[in-house]
Structure formats: C-alpha cells, structure tokens
C-alpha cells in the first residue's frame, strides 16, 4: 500500500527530471534530493506499518483470514476456538469438569488415534522405499535399514507403534467395559469399536508379512492355515470336502491368491495393509468419533445411581 501511495505522489514531481536524467546538473541535483526525500518518507511509512504489524499481528488481514475469529480470554472466544476449527470441532466447547482427569478415561482412545496417525505417517514414508514383490521386498528392508537416512528409525517406529496400538485398543476396550460406557445410548458405538479392534488386528497382521522374512512368512502361514479349516468354506474344514472345496478354490485360496504364501499373497497383504484396511478403518473411526459426540460426549464420570432408583422396564 505504501509503495503504491509513493508512486502516486511521485510522478508529478519526478517526471520532468526523469525525462532528462543526463541533462542539466542543477536540475538533476534537485530531482535526486526529491527522489531521496520521497524514498525516505516511504521507508518511514513502511517501518511504521511493520512495527504496527509486529505489535498487533492479530489485526492484519492475513491473520484474520486464517483464524477467522478473535482469540482472547473471553469464554466466547475459547468456545469459538474449538468450534470453528475443523480438527477440533469434534470436541464440544465444554466438557464435564471431572472428565479431564486422567483416571477416568486413561486417555487410551485418544492415544490410539494419535498412534494411528503416527503409523499412517511413518507407513507412507516406508512406502517410498518398498516394492511388494517377492524378488526385492526383503532387499528393500535391508536397504531401508542400512542406507536410507533414518530408515531404521522409521521401520522401528512403525513396528513398535503397531504393537502399541494393539495394546492401547485392548486397554481402551477394557476401560469402556469397566465404566459400563457401552450401555444406553452408546450400544452401537461399542459395536463399531469391536469392528475397529478387528480392523486393528488385521492391519497389524497384514503388515507382518511385508518384510518377507522367516518371521512374517511363518506367522502368516500359521495364521492363514486356519482358513483352510473353515467349516463349509475350507478344504480341511468340517463339510468342506463334501461341498467340493479343494486347496485351489477355498477361502484360503481367496485370501492368499494362491495355495501357498507366495508373491500373490505378498501383493494382497500389501494392498490390504496400505490401502484397503486403512480406508475402511478410517471410515469406521469417523463414525466412532462422530457417535461419541452424538451420544452426548464421553460417558462420565457420571453421578452414581442407586439400586433403589432403577426404573421398571416397559413391557411390550
């Protein structure tokens, strides 16, 4: 703005001099002083504006456009800070004062989600260095561990993060049970939670095969061998052979893309692990968090109810 203003005021004064910059000496000297004086004015103006910006950055258009609402110590602004932010708006503006203490929730649900984000982040970076092919998969891991900057740390974080997530999900479920949080009106969210537990285990299990080492190979072999014993659908399960199941058309074949754990199984594990299950799990997570809000936020700590206060059920 300051610059534009400077230009607007300048031309009338400087045009005569500007036209003949190499003409008369006296005239030229006058023009230079004028230009310098103008420049100085512009500089002073810019400094002042800069100082103002530093002093109160929240008054600039840029700041306002990003944050949209005023942030100060008023309750209204604290509430707006949460409500007008896409990442925070799943939180209510205010919660039960006892619910912020660690001892009720153990923080397991939130930390599980945080670890999931960490896993998506490290997993995406790992995908840059990994080919889901029987020929190079194992060598990619060796390369990752020895040559890629921080490759080893990346893989370790992904591995331990996955284990941590399984432990946290189980503890989250344990806490939700102990506090009876699955009871009305949160019954269905418990069901979604069980599905998320299953998806977490499947995510971890499909990732186990990817390094293509003995550990993963035999773990997945043992795991998928269960599938051939599926009743009706597996070639070694009850009534499977009677229904025409063979190693080449049963449910295990469908999981592995073959009758043994080989390159097709590696590719399938990779796609389930990196694309399909994360998308499905994310969708269920969205539902899970949304329903926590819609069912009235986290369940407690609620005031205790006495046995004498139980209301009779309505008989249909």
């Amino acid at each position: 703005m300051a610059e534009t203003n400077g230009h607007n005021t300048n031309p009338p004064a400087s045009t005569p001099g500007g036209n003949g910059s190499g003409q008369g000496n006296g005239k030229g000297g006058g023009v230079v002083t004028k230009v310098l004086a103008n420049a100085k004015a512009v500089q002073a103006r810019a400094t002042e504006e800069f100082k103002e910006t530093i002093k109160a950055p929240e008054k600039t258009d840029l700041w306002k456009s990003v944050l949209r609402v005023k942030h100060d110590e008023t309750p209204r602004s604290r509430a707006l800070g949460v409500l007008s932010n896409v990442f925070l708006h799943l939180h209510p503006a205010k919660i039960n004062r006892d619910a912020v203490a660690y001892n009720y929730t153990w923080g397991m649900g939130g930390m599980t989600f945080y670890v999931y984000i960490t896993l998506v982040f490290t997993g995406t970076l790992l995908m840059f260095y990994y080919h889901p092919s029987k020929i190079v998969a194992f060598r990619d891991i060796l390369y990752l561990e020895s040559d890629v900057p921080f490759g080893k740390l990346l893989r370790n974080m992904h591995r331990w993060g996955a284990h941590l997530m399984v432990i946290m999900v189980e503890l989250h479920m344990f806490r939700v049970f102990l506090t009876g949080s699955y009871k009305k009106p949160r019954e269905f969210n418990w069901v979604v939670g069980v599905l998320l537990l299953v998806l977490t285990l499947l995510l971890s299990f499909t990732g186990y095969l990817l390094p293509d080492d003995q550990l993963g190979f035999w773990a997945v072999t043992v795991g998928t061998n269960m599938a051939r014993a599926t009743p009706l659908l597996g070639h070694m399960g009850p009534f499977g052979p009677q229904l025409g199941m063979t190693p080449f058309n049963d449910v295990r074949f469908g999981l592995l893309g073959g009758s043994i754990v080989d390159s097709n199984a590696l590719l399938r594990a990779y796609i389930w692990h990196c694309v399909a299950i994360p998308i499905i799990a994310s969708a269920f997570m969205v539902v899970h968090f949304w329903r926590v809000r819609k069912d009235g936020g986290i369940s407690g700590p609620a005031p205790v109810v006495l046995e004498s206060e139980i209301k009779d059920v309505k008989k249909v």
Binding site: P75, I141, N156, V166, S181, L201, M236, V304, L306, E307
Partner: protein, 311 residues
C-alpha cells in the same frame, strides 16, 4: 535355571509387547477396580442415608457448591491431549532408538521355523489349537469372540454402572469380562509367547528349550475310555456328552445369574431372546476352560468323534 534362555525369550524384540502387557494389564486392572471400590463405598453410604443421597453430588471427585459443572475444552482438555501426544511420541521414539524391529532370514518355505508362532496378539488363538481342532480354535471361536463382544450391550440388562466405575452393582458382568479378557485372552497370549517352545511344548520360564525333547503323553478320546468302538455309537455318545455339557453349563450359569436378590432383579428385566443369546455365548466361552481341564487332568483328546469333525 537357564537364565540365558529366559533372557533370550524375554528380550526377543517381538516379545517385548507381551512383557509390557504383563505390567500394564495388572496396573490398569488395579487402577480401574480401585475407583470401582471407591464408588462402591460411596454408593453404600448413600444407600444407608437417603437424606444425604438427595443432596449429594454423587461422585467421589472433589466438589464445591460454587464450582462450574463444565470446563472449557480449550485449554483444559486440549493441553492434556497435547501433552499425551508428546509423551507417546517420546516413548515411541526412545523405544525405536533403543530396540530394533526384528528381521530374520529371507522367507524360505522349505525351512520351517520351530516353534513357528503367529503374531503375539493371535497367540491366544494358537494356544487354543492345543485343545481344539483348527476349525474351532481358528475360525469358529474367533468369530464367536467378535460377535460375542458385539452383543454385550444388547444382552446386559443391568441399567446400573453407566458411566462410572463400580464393582458391586455389576459383579457378574465385571467378573465375566475380567475372566474372558485376563484369564482367557491375555494369559493365553502370555503362555503362547513366553512358555511354549519347540514343538509347541510347555517349557517353564527358566528351563532350556530342548529341541530334542519328547513328551510321551497318550491323549485318548472320551469314547475310547468308555470302550465304545462303533462309529455310529461314537457319534451318538459324543452328542450325548456334549448335550450333557450344554445342559450342565446352562444350569450352572443360570444359578450364577439368579444367585442374589439383585441378580434376580436384573434377570427379571431380560427378554427371552436376551437370555438365550447370553446363555449361548457364556456356555461356549466356558467350554474352553472345561476342555483345558479335561485335557490337563484326564488326558482327553476329543469328546465327540465323527467322520466330519471332532470336538
């Protein structure tokens, strides 16, 4: 005492989560039950003093008349979440710097690992393979665990204990869940990880994993113990025994859920469908420890032998 073997098992990178479980599961059980007992004392106090129950804020948390019921999420919750995120990151970083993820030899279908174990969170299921055939331990049981967990909210007709820790008001459900989670899930994982060695044989912690060890144990089918030889006779005998178990377990569970006056009150609130579903899942859940005992005490392999499946 082979401390080196013990250290090898405990320090195997993928076993570290189980060692962690050994600490966090008891800790959080204690942590939750401690709050449950505190609430139970408050409940007993309020039940004994109706006048107090009318005015009390009904929580064990500190309370003053003037305090607001709610606090702002920003900053009171978000700062905790931020702190938790930092702490989890630090733990994960330190863990990842100090301990390397396992990487063994390239996969080799011709070289079987002994013991070859599933990932640790499935070791409870793998441990079940000792007692049940794969179709039961690997397919039916996991499916029933998942469905059984899902139906919990719909079969629990006890309206108490919604949103606070309590033991006294939910004795049956809490004990059942702890039995399922800690005894049947976590401890089976611990056994599968720390105790099962080569050939899936039982090695107490501290004993050497002897790859040449042989165990001479003769597991017999129940019909053989009773001297039943005919194929059809075996099928009928097995069906009768399993049927007897179902009835006995059903009666036992019924006795448990109608034991106290409070239990009967909750039982009276159940619909027939709720009762049947609950009985079904509890009877199946109970069959696991029953089969474990039958195997360990009487060396029984199968109870019901048929040409198509064995239980």
């Amino acid at each position: 005492m082979d401390l080196h073997q013990l250290w090898t098992i405990v320090s195997t990178p993928d076993n570290v989560p189980i060692v962690l479980l050994l600490f966090v599961v008891p800790f959080y059980t204690w942590y939750g039950l401690r709050q449950a007992f505190a609430n139970d004392r408050l409940i007993a106090q309020l039940e004994g003093d109706p006048a107090m129950a009318k005015t009390h804020h009904r929580k064990v948390q500190p309370y003053k008349a003037g305090w607001a019921k709610e606090v702002h999420v920003w900053p009171y919750l978000l700062r905790i979440e931020f702190l938790a995120a930092i702490i989890v990151t630090v733990i994960l970083m330190v863990w990842s710097i100090t301990l390397n993820a396992p990487l063994e030899e390239p996969s080799n279908p011709t070289l079987t690992m002994n013991p070859s174990k599933a990932p640790w969170y499935f070791l409870g299921l793998q441990e079940m393979l000792v007692y049940f055939d794969p179709w039961m331990a690997g397919v039916v049981m996991p499916s029933l665990i998942i469905i059984g967990l899902m139906v919990i909210p719909y079969i629990d007709s006890n309206p108490l204990g919604n949103g606070y820790y309590t033991y006294k008001q939910r004795k049956f459900s809490i004990l059942t869940f702890i039995f399922g989670f800690i005894v049947l899930w976590v401890s089976m994982i611990v056994i599968g990880t720390l105790i099962r060695g080569p050939g899936w044989m039982w090695f107490w912690p501290g004993t050497t994993w002897d790859h040449n060890r042989l165990i001479f144990e003769v597991n017999r089918d129940l019909p053989d113990i009773f001297g039943i030889t005919g194929r059809i006779a075996k099928i009928i005998f097995g069906a009768v025994v399993v049927g007897m178990y179902l009835v006995a377990a059903g009666i036992l569970i019924h006795k448990l859920i109608t034991k106290t006056a409070f239990n009967r009150k909750i039982y009276a609130r159940m619909s027939v469908l709720q009762y049947v579903v609950m009985q079904t899942f509890l009877i199946i859940m109970l069959s696991l420890p029953v089969k474990i005992l039958a195997r360990q005490l009487f060396r029984i392999k199968y109870v019901w032998v048929t040409p198509w499946f064995n239980i």
